[in-house]
Symmetry: C2
Subunit: 229 residues, 2 copies
């Protein structure tokens, strides 16, 4: 399946509420996943339903998560239980002329299915890929995981087969009768943006990925600041 | 219960993994909730577990959500089903000297319980409170919801009684043996930040809440730009 193929919605992924905002193509789904550092993982156990945030990354048609073996969430997900993984980017507050039509702009992805464990050489490779996604080139700079660190870490992946995206963009959609109401209308946009890097140590200078972060940082980003404990 | 009281963790809210990052006091919980526009709501039905993003706000010791009556999530939550509501703020990528100790800084809140419907005058008041949370003063400027709009909207609230917060701050926590490794170490911080307002209409000028948004916006925020459809 190519990156642009559309997958038909399943009974769980078909979007009913404002159906026109639903997207089922891989390119849209991948773009939303790739813009995320964190997903929310919902699962059920004998105590009920849980919703836990965790780091994530994509390789091909899978979303990956990882963590310490002891984490309840990973232990349960590794059993192959049905889960739901959701990623949400909030893009803005939509201020309409009537209270009723206020809305938000967002991009979200909802993935259903089961995780499978990633083991052996693929596990180390997946963790390297995560470091590279955070900071290109860095997996060759840091001390790699040793045998006990890798053994203490669980890596899981879930296919992006049963998934849907939902997106709202644009300004308010007011009723015609409200268009002349004397009130400010529009969008208050927002984005998760880089701030100035906090340096703990830079023995060999500042790598490209930190420079790139600093160059797009919103705050005083001309120089990396010292990390405050 | 005052806003600073500590509530004992329940079997579901007690944080086991890196327990020192857990917080059970109201002030910490409220601060995380109040910084959020969106939460993730996990619930189960006959199709399995779901995790859906939705707008949220706090009043007192309750978290509120709302939406069109037809939304599956709200219909199920309104039945009093057990749910889990999670809010996550990602604050930075923590780059350690070893791959294993890479981490993220974050503030999260996890709330367990059941929603209850908010009806009658309390429903209209709760929706006004939401508009005020987004834009102080705005509930008196927009056209208020009429009878049919209010009837078409579900408002639910869940008590913040069974809830916990988890927070990571600070720089990398490397092994002593790795401290001399020649690699950049520190934090790449990030934040959900305002961008320049996009104006659809400003018949009576720019209200204070839009000016305030613009004044803290990261991009060319000196003037509100026209909204692009």
């Amino acid at each position: 399946m190519t990156a642009t193929n559309t997958q038909p919605p399943s009974p769980r992924t078909r979007i009913h509420h404002v159906a026109r905002r639903g997207h089922y193509d891989r390119a849209t789904l991948h773009a939303i996943v790739d813009a995320a550092y964190v997903c929310h993982l919902a699962f059920a156990d004998e105590h009920g339903v849980h919703c836990i945030p965790t780091a994530c990354w994509r390789e091909g048609d899978h979303l990956y998560i990882h963590g310490s073996n002891g984490r309840r969430m990973l232990k349960l997900a590794a059993t192959g239980a049905q889960v739901c993984v959701t990623i949400t980017h909030l893009d803005g507050l939509v201020l309409a002329r009537s209270a009723f039509h206020h809305s938000m702009n967002y991009r979200s992805a909802v993935i259903y299915g089961c995780f499978e464990a990633v083991e052996g050489p693929a596990k180390a490779a997946a963790l390297d890929a995560f470091v590279e996604r955070i900071a290109p080139g860095r997996s060759h700079e840091v001390r790699p995981g040793d045998t006990s660190e890798l053994a203490a870490t669980t890596v899981l992946r879930i296919p992006l087969d049963e998934a849907a995206a939902k997106i709202r963009t644009g300004g308010p959609a007011d009723d015609e009768a409200d268009m002349d109401r004397p009130v400010w209308a529009g969008v208050l946009p927002m984005a998760l943006q880089p701030l100035a890097p906090l340096t703990d140590a830079a023995p060999t200078g500042t790598p490209d990925y930190v420079r790139a972060w600093a160059s797009t940082a919103s705050a005083s980003a001309t120089d990396a600041e010292a990390v405050s404990p």
